[in-house]
């Protein structure tokens, strides 16, 4: 009897374990997808019960978008350049920033805002008890469908600006652009979620959450407009607002100083995401379940 079956059995069991992990993983993902589908349907039903309000919110967001574009139109009446950026490059930047912001709004914003409310009222208990990852459920529970309409409008403006610039993106540029936009959405979500978890310590986090809207304004400015200094350093390296929309647009408009910028955005996004996971676990441990 040779002792050979032993290692093969070990290898086999390792393979089996891996396969089991994989099936568990796909089952887990499929489970989350099923949960998400139900949540989407619920959101649709909820929105459709207040149809006028649903349409009015779309109008509000569109109006604010037009306002940003009007700002650019007025400024370029008086100058040809903002720090080497031409009119349509800035329009492309504002469109992209709006697109990223609206996709983030559609998927995450309402949920982040509601988090502090769940903590305040003690309703968070129910989320922690459900057989789903609580962070997943809290982050995606409600889908803001109107924001997709505004994201489409932003896409239209981006397309028009790109045509005005005569951009002919190479084969890999467009997928890269889309990927970077996705990273931008991730950055917005992570930062906002982290801000919302601050509500575990102070109930008045609404002020902080409101403050996030101001960060969007920073994201739409050409990063080159800022001279090196504390503000630029913080909003590049700590809170990467000056990268979120700037980097994808620079890739698309072929004015990226170095491809390292893309890696920087990706790296910072992953870094911030890791930190937010840590803050979240710390916060839940701190949770005292108010009023129950």
């Amino acid at each position: 009897m040779s002792p050979s079956p032993a290692p093969s059995r070990g290898e086999g069991s390792r393979l089996v374990r891996l396969a089991r992990c994989l099936t568990a993983g796909t089952r887990h993902v499929r489970h989350l997808a099923a949960v998400y589908a139900v949540l989407c349907r619920n959101s649709l039903v909820r929105e459709m019960s207040f149809k006028t309000n649903f349409l009015l919110w779309i109008v509000v967001e569109l109006l604010w978008f037009v306002l940003q574009l009007a700002f650019v139109a007025v400024i370029y009446q008086h100058t040809d350049r903002i720090a080497t950026w031409s009119r349509w490059e800035v329009v492309l930047l504002i469109g992209t920033s709006q697109f990223i912001q609206q996709v983030f709004t559609a998927l995450f914003l309402t949920n982040c805002v509601q988090l502090s409310e769940h903590v305040r009222t003690g309703r968070l208990d129910f989320f922690l008890l459900l057989p789903v990852n609580p962070r997943f459920l809290l982050s995606v529970r409600q889908v803001d469908l109107g924001a997709f309409v505004n994201a489409a409008a932003a896409l239209g403006v981006m397309g028009y600006a790109a045509a005005q610039l005569g951009l002919r993106p190479a084969g890999t540029t467009l997928p890269g652009f889309a990927l970077l936009c996705g990273v931008g959405v991730l950055v917005h979500y992570t930062l906002m979620f982290m801000l919302a978890t601050v509500s575990f310590w102070t109930v008045q986090a609404q002020g902080l959450v409101w403050g996030y809207y101001n960060l969007f304004n920073v994201a739409r400015v050409p990063a080159d407009a800022f001279r090196p200094g504390l503000f630029k350093a913080v909003f590049t390296w700590v809170v990467p607002m000056l990268l979120v929309a700037n980097v994808p647009v620079q890739l698309l408009a072929d004015r990226l100083a170095s491809p390292l910028d893309m890696l920087l955005l990706l790296g910072l996004a992953l870094g911030v995401f890791a930190v937010s996971g840590w803050v979240w676990r710390l916060s839940v441990r701190h949770y005292t379940s108010a009023s129950s």
């Binding site: 009015l56 919110w57 109008v59 009446q77 008086h78 100058t79 720090a83 008045q204 800022f226 001279r227």
Partner: protein
């Protein structure tokens, strides 16, 4: 009169509970301001051969935004419209109606109290910010008459802001959800009031149209007076028109209030 002084006092104490909130609001508000200032600095750097862009030197442009931030902190409505709408929607109006109080005066007292606390909370961040940019700091007018006119314009601006928000909030008598309307109005105020940029860089035709709306008197006018850009006959005319708009919105607020009260169902009360 004494009872409203009392309400002002209670309002102060209520608003003080939100001092941290106000502080963060003011701090976060400085972020887009910094971005806008950087944008203008970049524009001036891109045109090194020009002394002025759109009729402003760099210093004047910076001073405009800085003074605008100060005027906004002193006069803007922050929470009052939501509170008024909630009073109506949740029936909290009923106990107030039973008291010998005028709701508009009651709300105005609370607004004044809120502004005092907000200004105090914003003093540190906004003051520091203005000091940091002191080379462009908005020096207040040296002429005492101009200074007096600035004070008067500020007061009328606060009244106008309050009355417009009050009237809008009264829509809650008819609508369940007024936030969309508030934000639509806010968007117009933001552009046509001079929040985004000084209105005199707009094309002449647009400026002429804006002349006939109340929006410039909500922000652009007092800032222009404070910077000394509006003086003489234009100043007198502006103050008169500002007073006119305050009167119009006072009348409108009273009228909508009377109509709304007939519609009031005291839900939840």
């Amino acid at each position: 009169m004494l009872k409203y002084a009392h309400i002002f006092h209670v309002g102060l104490q209520n608003a003080l509970a939100y001092r941290a909130n106000f502080f963060f609001r003011a701090v976060f508000g400085l972020l887009p301001l910094t971005a806008t200032l950087a944008l203008w600095q970049a524009i001036f750097r891109s045109n090194p051969d020009r002394e002025t862009v759109a009729g402003y030197t760099l210093g004047e442009m910076m001073a405009y935004y800085l003074l605008m931030t100060v005027v906004d902190a002193l006069t803007a409505v922050t929470e009052d419209d939501w509170q008024i709408a909630a009073d109506i929607r949740e029936g909290r109006l009923s106990p107030l109606l039973l008291k010998p109080l005028d709701y508009l005066a009651y709300r105005l007292s609370l607004f004044a109290a809120g502004r005092v606390v907000y200004a105090a909370a914003a003093l540190l961040p906004v003051g520091l910010f203005v000091l940091l940019h002191h080379q462009h700091g908005p020096g207040l007018p040296a002429d005492p008459l101009q200074l007096l006119a600035f004070g008067l314009a500020l007061l009328l601006t606060a009244l106008l802001q309050f009355l417009i928000s009050f009237t809008t909030a009264l829509l809650a008598f008819w609508l369940l959800e007024i936030s969309t309307w508030v934000f639509i109005l806010f968007a117009f105020e933001y552009l046509a009031g001079g929040h985004l940029f000084p209105l005199d860089i707009l094309p002449a035709g647009v400026q002429a149209v804006l002349q006939f709306t109340p929006f410039p008197y909500q922000l652009f006018f007092p800032v222009g007076v404070g910077l000394g850009r509006i003086e003489g006959p234009a100043l007198v005319q502006g103050l008169t028109l500002q007073l006119f708009w305050v009167g119009v919105f006072y009348g409108l607020a009273r009228w909508v209030w009377a109509r709304g009260l007939r519609h009031y169902t005291a839900a939840g009360g």
